[in-house]
Symmetry: C2
Subunit: 273 residues, 2 copies
């Protein structure tokens, strides 16, 4: 799932229905995911506590994928296990007029997690080499320069203590059709639907190509890309939970030690009127 | 629990161990709280959906209380039921140098929930009439003027579609002592402790008085104050969950209707190659 750095990416080579590494079947994966959630919450508290003591480390989870690929569902089901006070979640939409007046990374910098936090981007600066490329929203040379700018940016993040985890939620064209049809079937899902989503499907091959380029050019050892098979929602949730867990375990944040005299404090507390 | 508007407030008259309205006992309250959590999540999604369709309504939950009163625990246990993507949580600490260069409401305005969101303030603009008053951080006349400014501010919020719910988590002095002692007993809680927390206990009566003034002067029909007995954590969680639920039920947000031709969209989706 972790993309090798510097190699060509062929998304067709990744089965969108695969379930690598998962427990046997949906039920077992959901149960395992709940256990992972509890471990995530414990590690998150330690990260937060060490951040309060001056540790600058934090995590940034970047979620990218076609419409209906489950970016929002991942936030709800995976990030939902965490203490919301320590999460900084940002969904990026088409840039506002103010955002367009700045360089494309400006709004991203403003939304970064602070020390001790877990940041989640639902879409990200990658849109500026994805939709921007497919819909020709900027001159080709400018878009071409953005891959390098993104790599520089992510390197500075890593140097500043940010663990960057980038997930491409990989669904098939057929699965997207099924999900859009399901949204049409349910009036309580209509708010998520726009007829333009159908028009966009004509651009599917162009988007896949733009993703391949982005994944290829911006996979770095300090900011890896993961291709997450996402046709099965339970697998997507399980896999991203595990990814977060592995990275947090590697960070191994610790509760900071108090720099005060515990016995003296206890005595004062007990003695006071 | 809901404070009447325009009457004097005597915090001693409220029992910090009371459990008004709760199911019988902790276990039942926790189970009921979990059910409330599910209902909250459903209403939150509707609020979010209607926000996406232009409805400007949102909720702002303000949590205030002495150290260890459980503001953070409320976020974890009550807000933890919600979809974190639709929550905007802000903890207010001592103002930074930049924040001090602006009026005291500046940083609060920047942290307000957007339409469709549920905002949570862990401490708030009320600190500017609480700690500011007790510790003489501003001239008395300036602090005196802030109550009116807060009332004006909250009125503009209400007029802009913000449902403001203000909770004072009411613990006893003795309970705070117990909680601080417990923090000392557990090395994994030391990061939450500072010896200054003990010094602050000398100021307990002054803080209670400052709270009484704030609750008295800033209880408004459109921005009520609730006194939540908080010595029992399970009751605090249950009560604030219910409060949120009641306000969301009153808002009664609805899924917006789609403005597209469902049958035509379905046909297009099925026909395309």
């Amino acid at each position: 799932m972790r993309l090798p750095v510097g190699e060509q990416v062929d998304l067709d080579a990744y089965d969108t229905r695969a379930t690598p590494g998962a427990p046997d079947g949906k039920q077992a994966a959901v149960a395992d995911g709940a256990r992972t959630g509890k471990r995530l919450a414990r590690l998150q508290e330690r990260l937060w506590a060490s951040g309060a003591a001056g540790d600058r480390r934090r995590v940034l989870l970047v979620l990218q994928g076609m419409d209906t690929s489950g970016k929002g569902g991942t936030v709800k089901h995976v990030i939902g296990h965490l203490n919301p006070a320590g999460c900084r979640i940002q969904a990026f939409k088409a840039p506002t007029e103010e955002e367009r007046r700045h360089d494309f990374l400006w709004r991203v910098r403003a939304a970064l997690p602070r020390p001790g936090e877990i940041g989640i981007f639902d879409r990200s600066h990658y849109e500026d080499v994805l939709v921007a490329r497919v819909r020709h929203l900027a001159p080709p040379a400018e878009i071409g320069s953005r891959y390098g700018l993104i790599n520089d940016f992510e390197r500075t993040l890593a140097e500043d203590g940010v663990t960057v985890i980038k997930c491409f939620l990989h669904i098939s064209n057929e699965e997207q059709r099924r999900r859009l049809l399901r949204r049409l079937d349910r009036p309580d899902k209509h708010w998520k639907f726009a007829p333009g989503d159908i028009d966009d499907r004509v651009l599917w091959p162009a988007y896949q190509e733009a993703y391949e380029l982005a994944l290829e050019r911006c996979a770095a050892p300090h900011a890896p890309w993961y291709v997450v098979p996402a046709d099965r929602k339970w697998y997507r949730n399980w896999a991203i939970g595990r990814l977060l867990l592995e990275h947090l375990q590697e960070l191994d944040p610790r509760y900071p030690e108090g720099d005060f005299d515990v016995a003296a404090c206890r005595e004062r507390l007990l003695k006071e009127p």
